[in-house]
């Protein structure tokens, strides 16, 4: 039924009012029904239409993309169709409805603009086709599944911190040619001895040849390995500031990847909860950050507990060489004590382990609440939570494990700083 049928019924008012009576009403109703039935059989079926959806390019969250819907009239009749190209609300589709007239064999492409509001793989919904004839009293409608998905990458807002961090890393590296050979350093050059140099770094053989005191200098080793483990378990699903903990963790790992690959290190990222959800590596990658974004885009946290044994074995499989292992997870006493501590020795025997966690800004707000007794009890509970996390970090430091905890928007920078510190100190 269409608006035209309504208008026809409304026009029927004229004869009915001119010649009042049941016979007139029945005749007019009969005429309208007959016209509708005839039109129903005149309408070309939606069967004759082939549909294709071509998703537009991948974008970072915040950018716009599009999708193209191709309509191909495979039938031998002219088709008048209204088309609704349905997308989930978070895909931000605008003007999803359009009207077309297709000659037999004709093809038409409908471009639909998308403003995604959520990271992830957004799957398109059904395409609804409403077909009508020339008379257009009756429209026949059909909803058809036309598979397509657009991939919205994490926004990588912390990208703007990258130049400053890279700059900082270069400066520190250049300034502190490490004098003493140690873990994660490699031979850099020989230079003349100046007062104050450590006598232990004098290269006696070179000094004998040069007739002057010569010292060896070392610099932080390149081609080190960084393994970032992002926990996508139920802890990562926590709301934290504007997004979830997982979003902040992704940001942090993206910045660290960009920074470390820029400094010549190799980065592997493992996203895991009860099982390994996604793996990405900077090896052979032209653009590691982009590859990593693509790999991480469709992953969302799930309400499982993380299986740290699986994660540990995944880490060990990834690299036998010594690596910096960054566990981005939650400072939860029970999880760390029961699940992470047992597997730590296997990791620390080969690798250097760092734990990063996201601080909840609302927790910080709650500690400030004052007023009546209830507010103070709330503040005390929030303080207790923070104290517990702080003491946990202290105990981890006692085990030789560095940790970093920061607000969601500051975590990428904080983690990058930790990396720079370790790198410059030859701690990798």
């Amino acid at each position: 039924m269409t608006a035209r049928l309504f208008l026809l019924t409304l026009v029927g008012l004229v004869p009915v009012m001119l010649v009042p009576g049941w016979p007139t009403a029945l005749i007019v109703a009969g005429v309208i029904i007959a016209a509708a039935v005839v039109d129903f059989f005149l309408v070309p079926r939606a069967h004759g239409l082939s549909l294709q959806r071509t998703p537009g390019p991948m974008v970072r969250l915040g950018d716009d993309t599009h999708s193209t819907l191709s309509l191909i009239n495979d039938s031998t009749r002219r088709m008048r169709v209204d088309v609704r190209d349905a997308w989930p609300p978070s895909a931000g589709a605008v003007r999803t409805r359009s009207r077309h007239v297709l000659d037999p064999g004709a093809e038409k492409q409908v471009r639909i603009e998308l403003h995604p509001r959520r990271r992830g793989a957004l799957t398109a919904d059904l395409v609804t086709v409403r077909s009508s004839s020339v008379i257009g009293l009756i429209a026949r409608q059909k909803s058809i599944e036309v598979p397509a998905a657009i991939r919205v990458l994490p926004p990588f807002v912390s990208r703007r911190e990258l130049p400053s961090k890279t700059q900082k890393l270069r400066e520190l590296e250049g300034r502190s040619a490490v004098m003493i050979r140690g873990m994660g350093t490699e031979f850099d050059s020989l230079r003349d001895y100046v007062d104050g140099d450590d006598v232990r770094s004098i290269d006696w053989r070179a000094s004998a040849r040069a007739q002057d005191l010569v010292v060896k200098t070392w610099r932080p080793e390149k081609d080190r390995r960084v393994i970032i483990v992002v926990d996508s378990s139920r802890f990562a699903a926590r709301r934290c500031g504007e997004g979830t903990v997982f979003d902040a963790a992704l940001e942090a790992s993206l910045l660290l990847t960009a920074l470390a690959t820029g400094a010549g290190d190799r980065v592997d990222v493992i996203v895991a909860d009860a099982r390994v959800r996604a793996v990405a590596s900077s090896r052979q990658a032209h653009d590691p950050v982009h590859d990593l974004s693509v790999a991480l885009a469709p992953v969302d946290p799930e309400l499982y507990d993380a299986n740290w044994e699986t994660i540990a074995s995944a880490v060990l499989q990834t690299s036998r060489q010594q690596a910096l292992v960054v566990l981005v997870t939650e400072f939860d006493e029970a999880t760390i004590a029961d699940d992470i501590l047992p597997i730590l020795p296997t990791l620390t025997s080969h690798h250097r382990v760092v734990i990063a966690g996201v601080e909840d800004p609302s927790l910080q707000e709650l500690t400030q609440s004052r007023g009546d007794a209830d507010a103070i009890f709330t503040a005390a509970a929030a303080e207790e939570e923070q104290l517990r996390q702080a003491s946990l970090r202290t105990r981890l430091r006692g085990l030789g494990i560095s940790s970093v905890q920061a607000l969601p928007e500051q975590l990428p920078g904080a983690l990058a700083d930790l990396y720079i510190r370790l790198k410059v100190a030859g701690g990798l």
Binding site: P20, P55, A86, P88, S143, R238, D300, E383, E384, A390
Partner: protein, 417 residues
């Protein structure tokens, strides 16, 4: 462009063609619903075909004052009973030989013309007419019988009446229950009139009065064999009702009276509501306007169907799970508030404040509380004793004390540069 390349560059090609089996499966719900509705409608129709009525002495009424029991009993005994409320039907059914016509009630609803029509139809084949307690309306049917309504209000007839006549069916039936009305011959000693079941008892003897000559044949059952049509008047309606037919000889008397012929026509006259109802407002509305308003109903229906049609199902969004983590903190706070754990809350807040202050004053991690308090006293100029009281020794017993102390803590903390 080849099909494979097309798919590779632009995505899978879909068509609306759905296999018949899938279509049937999705239509299954509607088919089932239609069948269920159909069955319900049929069942309802079947159950409501028995049009029950509550009218007194009606042949379809199963109420106490109905006569369905009598009609069904006659049918069971092989009498061909025709029941109707329609006069024409009754008259045509009566126009056949070997028929009795019964008018159970409302005899006064029949016009003089109706009565003539019925009587002439009956007379052609010599059929009988039976009236049940017609009252004064008896005058329409015959002038040979009249209602004996001059009974004194003081009479108290016997509860059972005896036949007291030569009618064989009455003699077989014996005693019957007594009613309130008697019928009598108009002229004393009319031929062919037999009266049975006269009222007897104290005070009854004097009832013969002005209209009915003393000594006339009178009784609750009166038959006239020699009139225009053979007529029987059953003076007591109780004899045929569902409630009383089984008492005394009622059933025997009535059934024998009505089963004398092979066919029985029960005609239930009704008062026609042919009176003009008072003119309502709607009679003053012009026809064309009324027709237009009525036509709007289907128009609105079409409009609703047009507007109400959804352009495809709602789009589905699969949202990721988000856990509101702060709620555990609120929960824990509520627990400690309910258990009045003021000491615990105070201890936590003091520890947190001291740690923060120590950090701000660049004191080491291992600095003791007393040293921190000493530094606070230096920085803020407060009395170390008071500070010790606030930060360490004071205990709280009420919520008010806790609030007060915590506010002091906050105040001191804010004074640290």
């Amino acid at each position: 462009m080849s099909a494979q390349l097309d798919v590779a560059t632009r995505g899978t090609r879909s068509s609306a063609r759905v296999p018949l089996r899938a279509r049937l499966r999705s239509a299954g719900v509607w088919i089932t619903a239609a069948i269920v509705i159909l069955i319900t409608v049929i069942a309802t129709l079947l159950m409501t075909t028995d049009d029950e009525t509550e009218a007194p002495l009606h042949y379809d009424s199963t109420a106490r004052d109905g006569t369905k029991a009598m009609v069904e009993t006659l049918r069971a005994h092989g009498v061909d009973v025709t029941t109707t409320e329609d006069f024409k039907e009754a008259r045509s059914a009566a126009a056949q030989p070997d028929t009795t016509m019964l008018v159970p009630t409302n005899a006064d609803a029949m016009s003089a013309g109706d009565v003539d029509g019925v009587e002439s139809a009956l007379a052609t084949h010599g059929d009988r007419l039976v009236l049940i307690d017609p009252g004064p309306a008896i005058a329409e049917f015959t002038d040979r019988i009249t209602v004996n309504d001059n009974l004194s209000p003081l009479t108290s007839p016997d509860p059972e009446s005896q036949p007291d006549c030569a009618l064989p069916s009455a003699r077989t039936a014996g005693a019957v229950t007594t009613g309130e009305t008697e019928y009598a011959e108009t002229k004393k000693g009319t031929d062919g009139i037999t009266a049975c079941y006269p009222l007897t008892g104290p005070g009854v003897d004097e009832i013969d009065g002005a209209e009915v000559a003393p000594g006339s044949a009178r009784g609750q059952l009166i038959t006239d064999a020699d009139g225009h049509v053979p007529l029987t008047v059953i003076g007591n309606a109780e004899w045929v009702t569902n409630e009383h037919i089984d008492e005394e000889g009622n059933a025997s008397l009535v059934l024998s009276q009505l089963s004398e012929t092979a066919h029985l026509v029960v005609y239930y006259p009704t008062f026609d509501d042919s009176e003009e109802p008072p003119p309502s407002t709607i009679d003053f509305v012009p026809d064309w306007f009324l027709a237009g308003v009525l036509w709007l109903a289907p128009t609105v229906l079409v409009l609703l169907l047009v507007i109400g049609r959804r352009f495809g199902p709602l789009a589905i969004e699969r949202l990721p799970v988000i856990v509101p983590a702060v709620e555990t903190v609120h929960g824990r706070a509520a627990l400690s508030a309910r258990s009045h754990d003021r000491a615990g809350a105070l201890h936590t807040l003091r520890t947190a404040a001291l740690l923060r202050i120590a950090k701000r004053l660049s004191l080491g991690r291992e600095t003791g509380a007393s040293q921190i308090i000493a530094r606070i006293a230096e920085v803020t100029g407060r009395d170390p004793g008071t500070l010790h009281h606030i930060f360490v020794s004071a205990t709280v017993h009420t919520d008010a004390e806790l609030t007060d102390l915590v506010h002091q803590l906050t105040q001191i903390e804010s004074e640290i540069p």
